[in-house]
């Protein structure tokens, strides 16, 4: 019997594929529609307010640490920005220190020196296996307990003070005439970049090396200080002073920030160390031997041969660690560091009751931060990948 036209159509692979896809898609749409509908209905029947008008209303609460101008008469949107900046600050500092410490311990663990390798191994194994929240509490309360009260502050040169309210540093005020110095500073930086490009080109052409780094450093620092002297040091310092309960003036690092960045960097560094170790071990031993046999010094073997190849293995998992650190910074709420979660998903949420809008915004921020970090690291990875020759 010949199959009819209809059954031909039914048993056609493409038709079946489209059919199932259409069914799946409509189920998904139906599901989403149901959820949204259900939510809207539930919210209506419970008298829950919705929408984003609350962002323009005065917040009426204070925040302990703000990078921008903020007071109880500022809006909820300002509170959002304050929280966001505090999160970015802690994530930025955390990533910086975690990378340095992580690379150091990763390389140490591969050291042929037994003691150094064991120290690194112990550190990594201990830190990696203790929950982060516990470590944050430990550092916070350890720091608080160890430090004296404001009146018994530890002093350095009568201008730096350390107590259980934080670290107080003199703040530099730049008076008139300093703009020239800053222009000069940026000009020397640009000149340095040209020096680097020129020395690289010359080396490629002739093979003669040039100490570009030291020359640029001398240029930037030298010109900066020369300009300072020439203009008669137009910089004054705002030195913290003990007034009433606490120090006023100057710059201040609150203990919450210190404890949180410390815990986050130490914790993530242990993971980064393992990533670095894996990356270096992934470079075949033959590469090291070949590099040595062409007469490169140990430092250059690491810098020119091993690290560039290891980075290709390191960067993707390193990106993960950066993302983890950023997301883990939301544990700040436990020790009163006013990050996005504490300020916005905490206080602001409680005062407005608009959980869905606020949690949505906070989720959006973390999603954006994660995607942004990924994009940057992917770009870096593309630059570092094997060049076809």
């Amino acid at each position: 019997m010949r199959p009819s036209r209809f059954s031909n159509f039914i048993f056609n692979r493409n038709v079946q594929g489209t059919f199932y896809q259409a069914i799946t898609l409509s189920l998904v749409i139906l599901g989403v529609y149901y959820i949204v509908q259900n939510t809207a209905e539930n919210m209506m029947s419970r008298g829950l307010a919705s929408g984003f008008h609350f962002l323009g209303v005065e917040s009426q609460f204070d925040i302990g640490m703000t990078l921008i101008e903020y007071s109880p008469t500022s809006t909820y949107f300002d509170a959002f920005i304050v929280g966001l900046l505090n999160t970015l600050l802690v994530a930025g500092i955390g990533i910086f220190f975690a990378t340095i410490v992580g690379f150091a311990f990763g390389i140490m663990r591969l050291s042929s020196n037994w003691l150094i390798a064991k120290i690194a191994e112990t550190y990594i194994e201990v830190i990696r296996n203790i929950p982060l929240l516990l470590q944050i509490f430990f550092w916070y309360f350890a720091v608080l307990r160890a430090l004296p009260k404001p009146k018994q502050s530890i002093e350095f040169m009568d201008s730096i003070f350390l107590n259980n309210r934080g670290l107080f540093l003199p703040d530099a005020n730049f008076n008139e005439g300093t703009s020239v110095i800053f222009y000069l500073f940026w000009i020397t930086i640009i000149i340095s970049i040209f020096i680097f490009i020129w020395s690289k080109r010359r080396q490629n052409r002739t093979g003669i090396t040039f100490p570009a780094f030291y020359v640029s450093l001398a240029l930037v620092v030298g010109v900066f200080f020369a300009a300072l002297t020439a203009t008669g040091f137009p910089v004054s310092f705002d030195i913290p002073e003990l007034k009433g309960f606490n120090f006023k003036g100057g710059m201040r690092l609150i203990p919450e920030l210190v404890a949180l960045t410390f815990a986050l960097s130490m914790y993530t560094a242990a993971f980064i160390a393992e990533v670095v170790r894996a990356g270096i071990m992934a470079v075949s031993k033959g590469q090291t031997e070949a590099a040595r046999s062409v007469g490169l010094k140990e430092g250059l073997v690491l810098r020119l041969i091993i690290i560039p190849q290891a980075l290709r293995v390191i960067v993707p998992p390193l990106t993960n660690q950066y993302l983890n650190l950023t997301k883990n910074s939301s544990l700040a709420a436990a020790i009163a560091y006013p990050d996005l979660v504490l300020v916005f998903a905490g206080t602001a949420l409680m005062q407005t009751g608009q959980a869905i809008e606020i949690i949505g915004m906070v989720m959006g921020v973390y999603l954006f931060l994660s995607l942004f970090t990924s994009i940057i690291m992917n770009l870096f990875n593309r630059i570092m990948r094997v060049g076809e020759r």
Binding site: N42, L48, F61, L144, T347
Partner: protein
């Protein structure tokens, strides 16, 4: 944009709200034989677990009274400890049926967040605690102080108002959990700890050396604390409201936990007879048995019994009732129950 918003909104809600059994809480509760009561994570005198995990306190007794009214048994309650931040979401999502967790009754909570307050079981006000050796005797001397407090409370707003109104500077240090606030204050992170005065009295018992601290005389806010239910379920709200009112009215008419049996047996006072469930059929309107108020007083006690047992002068919390707003209106307080008839 609107689509994105709705999607996120929906995703969050699907987790939060779908399981909520919302209308007809009373029927659901009767069917399942218990209800969930949201309490604090441990505020001595208000809601605090002992070493065996049994909860007690005046906030807990509100839930016990509701249980007694419905089931004739004060212990058909499951207690759910919540942080200040979690409490309203837990109630909205149906995770708990009554929130009895020293929660301040405010307009925005009542009108915006979809909550309904069922009354006031403690009239409180916000105060400050400082170390005795700081030499501070008034809240007006707190200019420049670091202030420890709890996230998600009216306290945060009151303190901002107070320092702003008096043009004083301060540094807020805000923790998510009450225990962390107490710990940080104890470690010297803050010069002062602020919350409701009852909370200060309760939390002081947790400090390393309670006698080294003093509560300043100023009260900077009104904090009427009471049980809360979801908005839109009037029957359930009525049960909770009248359970509390019955405790207060029982005290007004001298019906106590210890004398309720004998008094009810021989009373000739019609009000007392109604409270005893002998006359008036008050239970029908609430969909409860007529002995509901008798059960509350005999199983839990009247307001005075509960107060003296958990937060009165002979307890570690030690809050004198006489002269405070929590005294009955007959003794110059503001505690006044509408008639249960």
């Amino acid at each position: 944009m609107n689509n994105i918003k709705n999607t996120i909104l929906g995703l969050v809600c699907s987790v939060l709200m779908v399981p909520a059994a919302y209308a007809g809480t009373l029927d659901t509760v009767k069917d399942q034989g218990f209800f969930n009561c949201g309490v604090s994570q441990g505020v001595p005198g208000f809601s605090n677990p002992d070493e065996n995990g049994n909860w007690s306190g005046i906030d807990v007794d509100v839930c016990r009274a509701v249980s007694a009214a419905i089931f004739g048994d004060a212990d058909k309650v499951k207690y759910v400890p919540l942080t200040a931040k979690e409490r309203f979401t837990a109630l909205q999502a149906g995770e708990i049926d009554v929130l009895s967790r020293n929660t301040t009754w405010t307009l925005s909570r009542d009108a915006q967040i979809g909550l309904e307050f069922a009354g006031v079981n403690f009239y409180d006000g916000q105060g400050f605690m400082v170390r005795k050796d700081s030499g501070i005797t008034s809240a007006m001397e707190l200019d420049g102080a670091s202030v420890c407090t709890n996230l998600g409370t009216t306290t945060e707003l009151n303190m901002a108002d107070f320092f702003r109104a008096n043009s004083m500077a301060y540094e807020p240090v805000v923790f998510e959990k009450a225990d962390e606030v107490v710990n940080a204050y104890d470690e010297g992170r803050c010069d002062t700890y602020t919350t409701d005065k009852s909370g200060l009295a309760a939390q002081r018992t947790k400090l390393a050396d309670p006698d080294a601290h003093v509560v300043l005389p100023e009260t900077i806010s009104k904090e009427p604390l009471g049980p809360v239910v979801r908005e839109g379920d009037g029957d359930w709200a009525d049960v909770v409201r009248w359970s509390l009112n019955a405790m207060i009215e029982a005290e007004e008419f001298g019906l106590t936990n210890s004398n309720v049996k004998t008094t009810c047996a021989m009373t000739s006072n019609p009000v007392v007879a109604r409270l005893c469930g002998k006359e008036g059929g008050t239970g029908a309107g609430l969909n409860l048995g007529d002995s509901w108020s008798y059960d509350i007083v005999s199983k839990v006690g009247n307001y005075g019994d509960v107060y003296e047992k958990h937060v009165g002068e002979n307890t570690p919390v030690g809050l004198a009732r006489a002269g405070s707003p929590n005294a009955s209106y007959k003794n110059g307080g503001v505690l006044y129950a509408p008639p249960a008839r």
